[in-house]
Symmetry: C2
Subunit: 150 residues, 2 copies
Amino acid sequence: MPKLDLDAIPQTNHTGYPTEYAQEVAGRFYRRIAPETGLTDFGVSHVTLMPGAWSSQRHWHEDEDEFVVILSGEAILIDEDGRTPMAAGDMAAFPKNDGNGHHLVNESDTDCMFVVVGRPAAGACHYPDVDMHIFGDGAGFRRKDGSAFP
Amino acid sequence: MPKLDLDAIPQTNHTGYPTEYAQEVAGRFYRRIAPETGLTDFGVSHVTLMPGAWSSQRHWHEDEDEFVVILSGEAILIDEDGRTPMAAGDMAAFPKNDGNGHHLVNESDTDCMFVVVGRPAAGACHYPDVDMHIFGDGAGFRRKDGSAFP
């Protein structure tokens, strides 16, 4: 059955972020669609941002395109250009290596649901607001000077 | 600006289908998002299905995953398993080579909008209901016996 039964797909708010940067995404609950459905060409996540939650720390990828479409509720897209309200039906595209750190923040008092598409790559990821970086060497999150988090 | 201005993106109901199979998709108007935004890892189209319109002839790809999320309105997902109503927020995944010919049909009296994601590949595409096939040789649509359309 190609139609997804969302309730049957595991939902988690797990993050690989170090503790000091994890609180902002504690209210971000997501379901990974691709592994549940056999898709391999790209990844898809269905995300619920609870009030106050961030989609991620503001970031940009050197090697991965991202695409977002809002399904319900509202969020603020925050990037180098400022603040842009996003509501149901609104879409945003983040081409790889654009240098435009971005995230979505739910400043409303109701949940915001969106779908995000990407094709995860091994390359670097930049976080302009926090002392965190992915170097693209498979070692995950480290400080910008290359040192490990506690 | 990562947020898309839909009105600024060209919309078309162009189809490469031969005339005899084109009428069903005449009310399918779409915008290709990737070329307008610099995305290259995958393709994204924003589609408006007018009342009566089909998303495509029923088909399945040997080499291309597809993912659909409904933004507004309603459509019927028709595949080998039968008919499945789809409404705003509903999603469907079509992994490559699943042999499950599928399409969306708007049987309602209002527009249905959805987003479809794929990573177009050169491989074959099968159309179980009509005498049409893509052989994956770059020649586009032909009859199942390999002959050209008029």
